[in-house]
Symmetry: C2
Subunit: 226 residues, 2 copies
């Protein structure tokens, strides 16, 4: 069902999930009502941004890429930090480098909401999911609902955050992409942790993606095409 | 009462309110446990950042300044925007320029929380207040409480956001600064919208500040010193 009159902003990383969400938003709100937004935040594989731009272009929607230089500064080297012991910044429990930023999705949603507010876009769409491997706390349903409430209070708006994939497995996400006619677009997405095209096929991200396509009984257009 | 063992991060803009909060945090958590954080986000008066660094230095606390280049990009010129009509970005109701970013304090708190998380700092302290002129929705008590809940969920942490000035008038904030021995530090703060030292004394920010000091019966060290 298409909702008329409302505009939507899709957080598009250039990956499989957010691309599926883009097509979900196009079906729901209409192509002319949809804008895709990416963030250039120093991600390891900038190829993601090229993918996102290509995907948005082929889908026929507006596209914007916003820079965020703060994550890199949080990470260490660029940190204008005169008082904190850098060695103390490493997390000894998780072993995560201090480039890992907890709550990153909250920041993406906040910037997206600010962009949307300025343009009277009511709907935000994000591909976060609490199933499969993405057990990050900032991807969970409860967190996103709380964030929506915070954004509504903080911006005095009626913004809605949609998470079409929240409870879907990778298999179900592939099935949704097929239903939405988004399979061709998967050829332009990026998933591989090693940042190569064709994908390495061996990293955890490639393996999870392959599993989803296999379980859905669908050939991955990325593998077929590249 | 000093809370031992806990660390605190104070969002320090270089203004009167956040400086008062810095001294509040020092009294509550102890000087060694306090870090001050500023954001270099393209604010109109960079003198604020010089003030913040000076204030933190004189107070004997660690200080960090993080860059955020996203607000400027949201504003227009630097926007990597291929699809949105820039003329449509202006808010015809409020007349605000599109450099106005709704929910800015939510983003500051999110980045501060990320910084704090990496360093096992539990307490965030911000000088937002819902009294007097700062009626921005992202400064209100309800918003900050919701943000705290969102950060707790999104980072799986027990972060606490303190707002010592939330319900204080400017007069009461001056009185608190006096109680905390923070009046001398006021000489290093920046308030004037026109970004000049000595302050212009005529802009709304200068007038509000002067009113607070006058009502508290305290001479403003900034006026006295500069």
């Amino acid at each position: 069902m298409t909702v008329t009159g409302d505009k939507a902003l899709v957080l598009l990383s250039g990956g499989q999930d957010s691309t599926t969400c883009l097509y979900w938003a196009i079906e729901r709100f209409g192509r002319q009502a949809v804008t895709a937004i990416s963030f250039d935040y120093g991600q390891r594989h900038r190829i993601e941004l090229d993918c996102a731009a290509t995907i948005a272009d082929k889908a026929g929607v507006s596209y914007v890429c916003l820079p965020i230089n703060t994550f890199a500064a949080l990470g260490g080297d660029a940190l204008t930090d005169t008082g904190v012991d850098v060695r103390g910044d490493l997390d000894t429990e998780t072993g995560l480098p201090n480039t890992f930023v907890p709550g990153r999705n909250l920041i993406f949603l906040s910037f997206a909401a600010a962009y949307a507010y300025q343009r009277r876009i009511r709907h935000l769409v994000t591909g976060v999911a609490q199933t499969d491997y993405s057990g990050y706390p900032d991807c969970r349903s409860q967190t996103i609902e709380s964030m929506q409430e915070t954004l509504r209070l903080g911006m005095e708006s009626d913004v809605r955050v949609h998470t079409p994939l929240m409870h879907k497995s990778k298999k179900e996400t592939v099935e949704l992409a097929r239903e939405l006619g988004a399979l061709d677009a998967m050829a332009d997405t990026h998933t591989c942790y090693n940042g190569v095209r064709p994908p390495c096929g061996e990293c955890p991200a490639c393996l999870l993606r392959a599993k989803g396509f296999a379980e859905a009984g669908v050939e991955d257009p990325l593998i077929r095409t590249v």
